[in-house]
């Protein structure tokens, strides 16, 4: 059992570095963020490990390599916005924000502690870098549409990225927002679906079918791309070449695995919010290297 927390590398991955070097740095960061997330959940005895592991590569690439954000000026008007609509992924979000330098990573040990700013669902009033208070599913996408409209109105370069869970798409508010976003041709808006195929208790397709998700979103006026949500290079290339089509918002279906890459968590629905034992934590950390 490790007693000291994983140390996160802090700062943006330098965009002027060669691609291979950037990807190597992102791989190191993603592994460290996953390790730190597991340690946080273990310590707090609460969290959503499975979905955090599935979204970790997406969030790492966005926060460390793609988003134009500045921890020194977290409210800069023209900043890019990242909305973590699956707000139960708070441990992942906090670890990634700390890695980007929004706050001291020592704060992560206070995850879920009494009076900690690091609540089970993120609070923008208390945590720098958090853009929206999410938690109830289906809230982030409408907010992201509003952010993208504001940027359009202001002719700002600001882009908005919204990460939604796949099960989350069963909430009707998402489809209201997809309609509104498609109607307004918000090409500065990108939705990423963490398509791990599992919701809290079962698969999405056996619960309330989402497929054919690409066709549905295309029919709502969005340009659609599918990507391996654990392929850092593919994610980086995709996010650096937006919009997918001119005059359309971007709908990215990121194929992921719940619990990835931990062997005993991967694609196991019980790891939605199961807390690892000391032995499981140790085994997972060893797998992450």
């Amino acid at each position: 059992m490790s007693t000291s927390a994983t140390v996160l590398p802090v700062g943006r991955v330098d965009p002027t570095l060669p691609r291979a070097q950037r990807l190597a740095l992102l791989a190191v960061a993603a592994a460290a963020i996953r390790r730190r997330e597991l340690e946080m959940v273990y310590r707090a005895h609460l969290g959503h490990v499975g979905g955090d592991m599935s979204a970790a590569d997406i969030v790492t690439v966005l926060l460390l390599a793609v988003l134009e954000i500045d921890p020194v000026m977290p409210r800069s008007p023209d900043r890019d916005r990242f909305v973590m609509s699956k707000g139960h992924g708070s441990a992942l979000l906090y670890a990634a924000l700390a890695a980007r330098g929004f706050f001291d990573q020592r704060l992560l040990t206070e995850y879920l502690a009494p009076l900690s700013p690091l609540n089970g669902h993120p609070d923008a009033k208390k945590v720098a870098g958090v853009e929206a208070n999410t938690g109830p599913l289906g809230h982030g996408l409408p907010i992201a549409v509003g952010m993208a409209i504001a940027a359009h109105m202001a002719e700002s370069p600001s882009r908005t990225f919204c990460l939604v869970g796949d099960g989350e798409l069963q909430e009707g508010s998402n489809w209201e927002a997809l309609m509104a976003g498609g109607h307004r041709a918000l090409h500065n808006l990108t939705v990423i679906v963490d398509r791990n195929g599992l919701q809290q208790g079962a698969g999405t397709e056996e619960t309330s079918r989402l497929e054919p998700l690409a066709d549905k979103s295309r029919a709502f006026g969005w340009a659609v791309a599918e990507v391996d949500g654990h392929d850092l290079g593919a994610l980086l290339d995709l996010f650096e070449n937006l919009p997918l089509e001119s005059g359309k918002p971007n709908f990215v279906i990121a194929r992921t695995h719940k619990g990835y890459p931990i062997s005993f968590m991967r694609d196991r629905v019980e790891w939605h919010h199961k807390v690892p034992s000391a032995e499981q934590l140790q085994a997972a950390l060893e797998e992450l290297g």
Partner: protein, 319 residues
Amino acid sequence: MTAVTKNVELMDCRDAFATAIEELAAEDERVVVVCSDSVGSSKLVGFKERFPHRLVNVGIAEQTLVGVAAGLANGGKRPVVSAASCFVTARGLEQIKVDLAYTNAKVVICGMSPGVAYGELGPTHHSLEDIAWLRAIDNIAIVVPADPVETGQSLRSALAHDGPVFIRVSRMGVPRVYADHYEFQLGKAVRLTDGDDATIIANGTMVSRAVEAARALRERGIGCRVVSMPTVRPLDVDEIVSAAAETGAIVTVEEHSVRGGLGGAVAEIVVGRCPVPMEIMGFAGFAPTGSAEWLLSHAGLTSAGIVDSTMEVVGRKEK
């Protein structure tokens, strides 16, 4: 649609809203309006002509309506949401709680045509619970203006407020209560008449009726203090405690359910700070079929009804 504004002396507060929002938009380019289809019933045709790019119509989608407003606020805009009160407060309630109140988003929601303004359209379209469920949520100011003057001023005040504000904008015809030089202050009640025997606390469409009732009561030898309480939160606690302590009996009257609205807010203060006999006037349940005006009469929300309730509560006081 019920033609509620039949009397030429009565005014539709939505017109004051329309005038005020155009003025405020002209003054501050950050002001945008967000609506859910209801451009006409929100009286936004003029705004749309003057500021076509600052009207965000999300379609008939109240959850997205509120969420988009929160996103616009994050993006530096000052959004004013305009939508039928019954729909925006009920369908968008979780978004109001999380995206606005918990986030402290600077968004103004104008709940249009509240209470029983939609008359014969029935309880699906009545908004008799809006104040109650918003009052249960922390950190959102709640304003129920009495007339066009107060409607316009409260909108200006709301846009200057550091947090979310809900304003109920009536379509029921109301006479003018306030002069032009009236100055609305968020959280401040207004004493309209003096009297020692009882206090009538009213807001919205009931304020003019309360003043009328006080006149009738005076002829019967009962002196009534009439307090207009446009702000249900933050509540003017001192004014309520003074009313209880100095007049010994309180009647509240509102175009809302008797559960959890202005009456509930006043009662929460009275019971803890200065218990006196109280009567809460409003709607006891879902309203039957009828025009808005008829429904108010049917529920006793007339000056005569207020007189009766006041006599009753004064009688209890004297026991």
